[in-house]
Amino acid sequence: MNEKFDAIVVGAGPAGNSAAYTLAKAGMKVLQLERGETPGSKNVQGAILYSDALERIIPDFRDDAPLERHLLEQRMWILDDESYVGNTYRSDAFNKPPYNRYTIIRTQFDKWFSGKVQEAGAMVISETTVTDLHMDGNRVVGVKTDRTGGSVYADVVILADGVNSLLAKKAGFHPELRPKDVALAVKEIHFLPEETIDSRFNVSANAGVVIEMAGKITNGMVGTGFLYTNRESLTIGIGCLLSDFRKHGIAPYALLDKMKDHPAIRPLIEGGTMKEYTAHLIPEGGYHAVPPLYGDGWMIVGDAAMFVNSVHREGSNLAMTTGRLAAETMIELTADDKPMTAKNLARYHEKVKTSFVMKDLKKYKDMPKVLENNPQFFTAYPELLNRAAHELLTVDGVEKKAKERSIRRSFVKSRSWTGLMGDAVKLWRAFQ
């Protein structure tokens, strides 16, 4: 294959698919390479799909995309060993189309998206691992693949190869990831009849529930758990910083089992048939860990560029948005008859900076550090909150004022006044 393309897109996840689709729609000659047997077969997500990012690329995606349930209710739980305190937001406004968020099953979703990319006119080749970039001095001119005679050339290579992005590392665009910049998430999918899920979660007619969890389930590590409802299955998973997994020495699947055994969680998944166990990294280094985004003949998009907002658990929408922005940059430069040099591709960086992607990452830029240095948010506080709730709700003849005093005392005993104030300030600043 000695053809030359306008663009080569490496990877067929949401970032690569958005880039390839946008380019192909604009009439560009696009080759997309994916190492999986089919697009999606290597990919893992919770998975919540945020409509907005996809709508800007495929406005009528709801017509045929494989969507599981639209989200009606969001629960946030802070767990102690055998209890949780939580809050819930449920609104019938979320029950009216067009729906804002859906659960999806990633393998099916990616396959669907790839179908759209092919319809738009891109050439998509699966079962092909890109092994290296072809360089001409500092300029990327193409890629090498593991197929025989597998070199292909293009004006621009878009790296949408996900969190590990071996290509960017080999080329020196990106240093190796540090254990504190990635979370390792493990997850299972449990199948249950649709009616069982409906009644267990108090929903009907394809409405769904999200439960986000923090607290003792992560054994003091920085991380969160989740449980999402699909149409006929539940996904349950937990993710913590890799640096913490290393420090604490607990196997990821043991942590997941412990979570599944929590008395508030066990009844929700009871009787389900587990049909898959998956693991994947999530780039959580945030704003300070974002690598250079472009150079001569290349741009980097999605997870490969650390575009995940871990506070709000958004990733696929940042991937889709950055994939689209990279494509739009190329389309504009082509229209202006400008070459794909670093100087010109800097426009992609500008676009990312002015979009919600970089603004949100910037907003939470200090969060990774605050959480890393303050494990009490994952240990002492969940415990204290749960104990406080227990104390207040136990009716035992003790006057309420005395109960409040005892709760206050337990907070101060555990963290001291200055500690409590300091924690509040730290969190408040990180959220600013």
């Binding site: 998975a47 393998t107 079962e127 890799l242 994947h280």
Partner: protein, 95 residues
């Protein structure tokens, strides 16, 4: 607790016989120098095993290609990590 093998049994793989995509560069570094051996407890598929004599063995058949072992081996950089050939390795049904 469910054993990791039982869990992995639910997954679909296309194994590329004789072509492990991950290799330990110098096994003696694992035995002698690396005291904490984080790969043996961080790998979500339990691919690394600490043997009684201190050696670490690696069987990649259950690998989910997450990248953890490569990143966790920061101190010794003792792992050569590539993706399997296109089409081989883990084939997620649901992801």
């Amino acid at each position: 607790m469910m054993r990791v093998e039982e869990r992995l049994f639910q997954n679909r793989y296309r194994v590329d016989p004789g072509r492990a995509h991950i290799q330990i560069t110098d096994p003696s570094v694992c035995t002698v120098d690396c005291h904490s051996k984080p790969c043996t407890f961080c790998c979500p598929a339990g691919c690394y095993t600490k043997e009684g004599d201190g050696r670490v063995t690696l069987i990649t058949d259950g690998c989910m290609e997450c990248g953890t072992c490569r990143i966790i081996c920061t101190e010794f950089r003792n792992i050569q990590w590539e993706y399997p050939r296109g089409g081989y390795g883990i084939l997620f049904k649901f992801g």
